[in-house]
Subunit: 260 residues, 4 copies
């Protein structure tokens, strides 16, 4: 499980998502409010963005966010118009190493998963692995359900490269549903190619984690759109995303809420 925050809008510093808000990801790392299956998010943190050449990049740290000696300087030194931020609560049995810390990225996409698949190793891990082409199998570096979900997302992307990101998430969920059976699977998935962002709130056999969004908030530059697990500050304008719905963000377009 975890907490995540996504920003799309005019360029801001990393700190405006990670550390400055009154209920920033930093605060959520030791004092989350709506986390259901854990008390803390102290097993690592990370963030993703795109550089000037349009390459997705990520930074990950395998220990508590507050213990990273570089946190505050990176927050002051990095600016971007798109941020993927993450604090992690390791599910039982998934070690806290850099390779298990989100966001994940390949050459085109940033990806984050908030949730978990119950007894992943005994249930769909092997099945999912064998469904992938060899190269995507070999690219998996860690052991988390989240990294396997990213591999599945990449596989769907390769099959239908022209689909929108919301269609991509739909395909991922479509593949999962028949394989999940009666396993609990919490599947808030988020993905971006740098141009648009898709995020879904979904779960099988349990409730999905919370998900909220806001647009044109006065704390942020005009045009800013934000998606979070927990609101970053007090405001009546945070909209909860209903279960089995998706959000689609694009620059200069209002957020779009789509039923799954």
């Amino acid at each position: 499980m975890c907490r995540l925050a996504i920003y799309l809008g005019p360029e801001i510093s990393l700190g405006e998502i990670m550390t400055s808000p009154e209920h920033s990801l930093l605060q959520q790392s030791w004092q989350p409010r709506e986390l259901k299956y854990a008390k803390l998010n102290a097993d690592g943190y990370g963030f993703g963005w795109f550089n000037n050449e349009g390459q997705p990049l990520r930074y990950v740290f395998a220990e508590p966010m507050w213990s990273d000696p570089n946190l505050h300087d990176l927050c002051k030194g990095l600016e971007s118009d798109l941020w993927f931020g993450f604090v992690r609560s390791a599910s039982e049995g998934f070690g806290n190493q850099a390779v298990n810390t989100q966001p994940f990225r390949d050459e085109q996409l940033l990806f984050m998963h908030n949730g978990y698949i119950e007894r992943f190793n005994e249930t769909i891990r092997i099945e999912l692995l064998h469904a992938l082409p060899h190269q995507l199998q070999a690219d998996i570096m860690g052991t988390t359900d989240s990294e396997y979900l990213f591999a599945l997302t990449r596989w769907c992307r390769r099959q239908y490269p022209e689909h929108s990101l919301t269609d991509l998430l739909r395909q991922v969920l479509d593949w999962l549903e028949p394989h999940i059976d009666d396993t609990k699977a919490l599947l808030n998935l988020t993905v971006t190619d740098g141009a648009s962002v898709a995020a879904c709130r979904a779960a099988f056999n349990d409730d999905a984690p919370t998900l909220y969004f806001i647009a044109d908030d006065e704390e942020y530059p005009e045009g800013a759109q934000i998606i979070v697990s927990e609101p970053l500050h007090q405001s009546e304008f945070w909209h909860p995303v209903p279960e089995f719905h998706m959000l689609h963000l694009e620059r200069d377009t209002p957020p779009e809420l789509i039923a799954l």
Copy 2:
């Protein structure tokens, strides 16, 4: 690639293998003498032993041995009659995390591999994975050829639990040979169940890493038997193990050299 050292004999402190000898594993971490494919062994280190209940245990550290703040106190504080010691030079593409650091262990065995399989991800990784039962697949936590070789060793062990450890290594090599094809594979494998130790010097399509042994050395208690990648000190009594040979150690019995 790496350097390893194995001790079987009267109880000694960990330091007598890891730090005290003139050419200890600590010195081999930054100044190895016979390492072929690397300049350093600075990507982690580890050691294994058995506790009073006969359980195999291990300690691993993912950064250079010399940077572990606990090295010297552990060397003075741990005593055992069997040590498996290891310093690591990460092969290209295998990250340096605790899960990728040797020795490996399960509930019965300690295992170390000195060598590498060329282009492991593109060649036999997937084939080897699919040959394993699901539980052994799921137990793999990292990405190294060495951990997969340990999984294969566990699989052979389950099939023939009554075989000796030297026969076990033979089975592992027998499985590998037809799958390796023309890939370079350096396969110095070592394994112990706490009662006996087996080590082989083998390679396909290249030379095997060096391997030496000594017994009844005057620097160690009477009855000590030691296997190493590089001699721990100057002495004419270090015997090189010929390629495609195995060593079998048991307490109170001289080391046995067996052709593969």
Copy 3:
């Protein structure tokens, strides 16, 4: 601030203090019950013991106890008749590095401090530093109030090497009292030379942290004596130590409670 546990008695494994009890230090690292100035003890942990030659040794880890990949194997592999265990909540401004993690040791003593000195850098740090001989100044590797208190303890020890450990703690408090002025100082101090253990519960300008002891508990071998910040399990036999009192433990002697 922190939580600590001290064991003196027949040899037990490290795990019997650190991980096995229902309210072990591991549980106290993420769910302490009586911690006043923090929510967690997730900024490192450590333990100390003496080897067969009577040398004090320590192991420290700068990140959360639960994230140490070696915790459970060390807990099963180390046995001793004296344990000093510690989980840390870093006070604001003191980084979480190995050098700032307790217990501390020199060639003769193990030492732990549970508490803090308010605004240490602005108040007595420099004064305390200048009171020390140069060698003890130079031995300070980190920045915590606790390490300075250990340096002061070493300095008192050098002046009166024949004093008991309880007298030693008294001297340390005597030096501190006039320098502390109206600063809050929480000063639960514990020290051992391997033969006996002294622990005090003391504070100036605030309440001291909790401290408890038990002897001959049925969960531990006969003769065991234990001092803790929080009871390790449910039992009516945990005695609270009153403020401004000290405990003195020796093998084969009941715990002695002494007013300061």
Copy 4:
């Protein structure tokens, strides 16, 4: 000891100093060419730059540069017109922690020291410490000679805030010379306030480490000025800095070489 690289010129990515050159700091971390007192620079690395508000920032990593999982993404994601880069070989007795890793910074300056002061703890550490005002004493977080030299630099800066950075380095050396006595002291010091850069090549009782500079190199944008311990690539235009000389860099002005 260490290797350093400084860049001033049109904006480039971090990787153009740290990882891309044929003899980059990354290569110098495991294969330096002109390092006198060490074989490696594998005890950490760091870099410094200024953000859009003109604040000096730094990133430090306490383990080998090659083992930082974030190295390559930071190299692609950070751009600046001024870089301070550093790879560290820890002198005996100075632990490898983030607080001991260069560059250092305060609110105005970035600072790096290439060299060491022999037996620093026994010689001038305490004297230097006591020469500082209390706040600067309290700001010292680690134990290295380099951090104390930065504290001394800050102290000189406070006394003469209007002096140039080259005069500042002169003052630091002037303070040191009478206190150094017959101790070996290698003192290549570098400092920047974001507008200009000063670097000196100096030593007492031994030879100074090497230092080179280049301007208008064809591998870099026009106007680039670079100072390094070892040339980053083959070129006849790297100028060695003579001992007891300083360099002064400013944007749009050729490098100035000044005798000490």
